[in-house]
């Protein structure tokens, strides 16, 4: 693990990006890597744009990811994927939850939700489209969207699922372990 792996998690306040980054950080620790996780969460519960960053490797200095250096962007919402696209490196992977959450300017009618987001994403980078909300619902909790997406990420990174399940059990509330395990495996088995 010489090289540093950079993963950007982007979404909307309330979607569970921060918990997801915590789990991912734990995974990196399980792998014996140096890891840094950075979050900005002042507005996290208020429907604002939320981004967390996970960097791991042999040696990590800055906790933040530079534009054009993310190996993977894990997007919890389509518009946020588009917003953070410039952070993806050439050859990077975009994993996107196929969900639309209108921001306030769109609700007010002052802006339009961009059309054809997937076309833009796909023409720019390898894009994995995930119906994570439906998958989470099928597992028993819409709140597990974040863990479904982590499952897809785990597969994409080619990392052993045991390491992830261990991190999951460490990080989620006890009552939700079963639902989250199910959600993770759904994501892991998802062929997008």
């Amino acid at each position: 693990m010489e090289k540093t792996t950079n993963i950007l998690l982007v979404g909307v306040g309330g979607q569970g990006t921060i918990l997801a980054s915590k789990i991912l950080g734990h995974v990196a620790q399980n792998l014996g890597a140096e890891v840094k996780v950075s979050e900005i969460h002042g507005m996290s519960q208020r429907g604002g744009s939320v981004v967390t960053q996970v960097r791991f490797g042999e040696k990590v200095y800055s906790p933040v990811i530079a534009p054009g250096t993310a190996d993977v962007i894990l997007a919890f919402e389509k518009l946020e994927a588009l917003r953070w696209l410039p952070f993806l490196k050439e050859g990077g992977v975009m994993i996107v939850n196929n969900q639309e959450i209108d921001p306030m300017p769109v609700i007010m009618g002052a802006a339009e939700y961009p059309q054809d987001i997937f076309r833009t994403l796909e023409s720019a980078a390898r894009t994995v489209k995930v119906p994570a909300l439906a998958m989470a619902e099928a597992c028993g909790s819409v709140k597990s969207v974040n863990v479904v997406l982590l499952g897809v990420l785990a597969k994409s990174l080619g990392l052993d699922e045991e390491v992830w399940l261990d991190a999951l059990i460490h990080c989620v509330p006890k009552k939700t372990i079963e639902v989250n395990k199910k959600a993770f495996l759904q994501g892991y088995q998802f062929a997008g």
Binding site: K36, V37, E39, I40, T69, P103
Partner: protein, 579 residues
């Protein structure tokens, strides 16, 4: 054992390991989690104080009594606590006292980006700046030794990227530090003028001793690299430097006030070109240049916003090419500002304020989000507590008639923090404005911390609850009423009545935050499309649960909790509760 901790969690752990027994704070991003985590250690008494000044004063008392103490706040909180801080610098401590200032370069969640390192220089107390979580923990433990050895409070400055970034931390054991003996010493702790005069020269001597100590302190280290480029740096900027310029020689300063002149001079002499890389103000650079050292700093680096490794590389023109970006979008991307949550009790109040076109002297908390469209109902927002006093100022400047169209808006926690004194001023100096206390029974913006009017402590102990209505009456306001903000008619009636009256009045809009456990209303609304005339009234609520795919709204059932405001604003009866 190594654990992945944020800087804030690491500071809490450091306080635990250092044998701290008393800790106090008022919540403020990015400092809040320090006390929340300290509260998990039963060895430490931890409290939310009503404001930062009180928190520091509690800390000072505990220190004089012999305990090791931690006090935490965000950068602007230190402004509130500056009064006791500058005198604490004179008295010194008994048990070690560390004041954590969590600064916010880039203003991720703050009203300014002041550089609080100047407070150390202002108060003449040592300043420590960690650059990651492990260092935050280690430095904090050392800070207590420093505090007790030199009889001084220590300013411990983090920034958002240290406070809210996780990195691995090696956990240690707690050192049980017995209370220091309490000895009455009026000359040291009673700062009447004659005593203060005796203490000031001691502060000067202490600064000189600290500077000497800092020459060989383990807080600073030189990492030798190329002799062509030398970089002097501290805090998070160190990480950006290491990433951007791995080949450079680096003097990493951990204790940045008072500065070690010899160490720095010899480092500057040892390299061909020396840069100072620091976020925000030229705090280090100014001192170095005052000493006549040839360094390059703010000629290159901005005084505004955060630094980053790319910025450091670019400014030093090290030939690093810009990274290949996969692509960017050609389409305009709508911004996604934070908004009041679906069902937020503040929404109804702002909706009516907007409808009545009232002017609003605002304050700091979730309700500040009422400033943005479509509610657009806030004219000012300066600092905690400035709403009521600001409204009084507006009234005094423009007359009583102006006050008939003006309200001050403040939250319950903020009213406890520093709203009360403003209200006293309104009563005392004949103000007539109406104050709205948006009481959602918590400190919502920072993540639902308790305060004196919730009746619950940081340790979740139930205590006598301060009754806001009685309190306001006791402050001399005779016109006080409590109104449910979900009842738009009642909100409008109360507002119209109170602003029209020429005497001070307070309306307490009381409804717990919907995110508070067990307080969210249950239910959901639906839109009968055939009855909807697409008039757009419900759009003015700015509710994220109403989705417009055409002119007519639909309801996002996963977000809606049936607060019923949209039912009340719809003139055509098109919105109703789902049975």
């Amino acid at each position: 054992m190594k654990k992945l901790l944020t800087g804030n969690e690491a500071i809490a752990r450091g306080a635990f390991e250092a044998g701290v027994t008393v800790a106090a704070a008022y919540p403020g991003t990015p400092s809040t989690e320090i006390l929340e985590n300290i509260a998990g250690y039963p060895e430490i008494y931890a409290e939310w104080s009503p404001n930062e000044k009180v928190a520091l004063e509690v800390g000072i008392g505990a220190s004089i009594a012999g305990a090791r103490v931690l006090v935490a706040m965000k950068h602007v909180g230190v402004n509130v606590a500056a009064d006791p801080l500058l005198t604490l610098a004179y008295t010194g401590v008994n048990g070690g006292l560390v004041l954590v200032s969590a600064d916010d370069p880039g203003m991720h969640s703050s009203q300014n980006e002041q550089d609080n390192r100047y407070y150390a220089k202002f108060a003449q107390i040592p300043l420590l700046e960690p650059s990651d979580s492990q260092e935050a923990k280690e430095m904090l433990i050392e800070a207590y030794r420093l505090s007790e050895q030199f009889d001084t409070p220590v300013l411990f400055r983090t920034t958002t990227r240290v406070a809210h970034s996780q990195s691995l931390v090696e956990l240690g054991e707690r050192e049980e530090v017995p209370l220091k003996e309490y000895v009455k010493n009026a000359q040291k702790y009673v700062m009447l003028p004659a005593h203060g005069r005796m203490r000031h020269p001691i502060v000067e001597e202490r600064r000189e001793k600290l500077a000497l100590y800092n020459e060989t302190s383990a807080f600073n280290r030189i990492e030798r690299g190329s002799s062509k480029i030398g970089i002097i740096t501290s805090g998070i900027a160190y990480q950006y430097v290491k990433e951007a310029v791995p080949e450079a020689s680096v003097l990493k300063l951990g204790m940045t006030y008072p500065l070690p002149k010899k160490l720095i001079s010899s480092f500057v002499d040892s390299v061909e070109t020396c840069y100072v890389v620091e976020e925000l103000e030229p705090f280090l650079e100014e001192q170095l240049k005052a000493w006549g050292l040839k360094v390059i700093g703010k000629e290159l680096f901005p005084r505004v916003g955060e630094l980053s490794s790319e910025l450091v590389a670019a400014k030093l023109s090290l030939g690093q090419s810009q990274h290949e970006v996969a692509a960017s979008s050609a389409a305009p991307i709508p911004v996604r500002p934070p908004v009041l949550c679906p069902g937020c009790p503040h929404r109804g109040v702002y909706y009516v304020i907007n409808k009545l076109r009232l002017k609003v002297a605002g304050d700091i908390g979730c309700y500040t989000l009422g400033a943005t469209p479509p509610l657009s109902s806030m004219d000012t927002c300066i600092c905690m507590g400035a709403s009521i006093s600001g409204a009084l100022g507006m009234e005094k400047a423009r007359g009583k008639e102006f006050a008939r169209g003006l309200v001050a808006v403040i939250g319950d926690s903020t009213f406890m923090h520093s709203g009360m004194t403003g209200l006293v001023d309104v009563v005392y100096n004949g103000g007539t404005t109406t104050t709205l206390i948006l009481d959602n029974s918590t400190t919502a913006m920072t993540g639902h911390q308790d305060h004196p009017a919730t009746g619950m402590t940081l340790g979740k102990k139930q205590f006598k609850q301060i009754d806001l209505e009685q309190l306001v009456r006791a402050l001399g306001v005779e016109r006080v009423q409590v109104v449910d903000p979900y009842d738009l008619k009642a909100v409008e009636e109360a507002l119209k009545t109170e602003v029209a009256i020429e005497e001070p009045s307070v309306i307490i809009f009381k409804r717990p935050c919907v995110l508070l456990k067990g307080h969210a209303p249950e239910g959901c609304v639906t839109v009968e499309q055939e009855k909807c005339k697409a008039c757009g009234m419900c759009r003015k609520l700015g509710c994220p649960a109403l989705v417009f795919k055409g002119d007519k709204p639909a309801v996002n059932a996963t977000l809606c909790n049936g607060c019923g405001l949209c039912i009340q604003v719809c003139r055509f009866g098109a919105i109703r509760e789902v049975e």
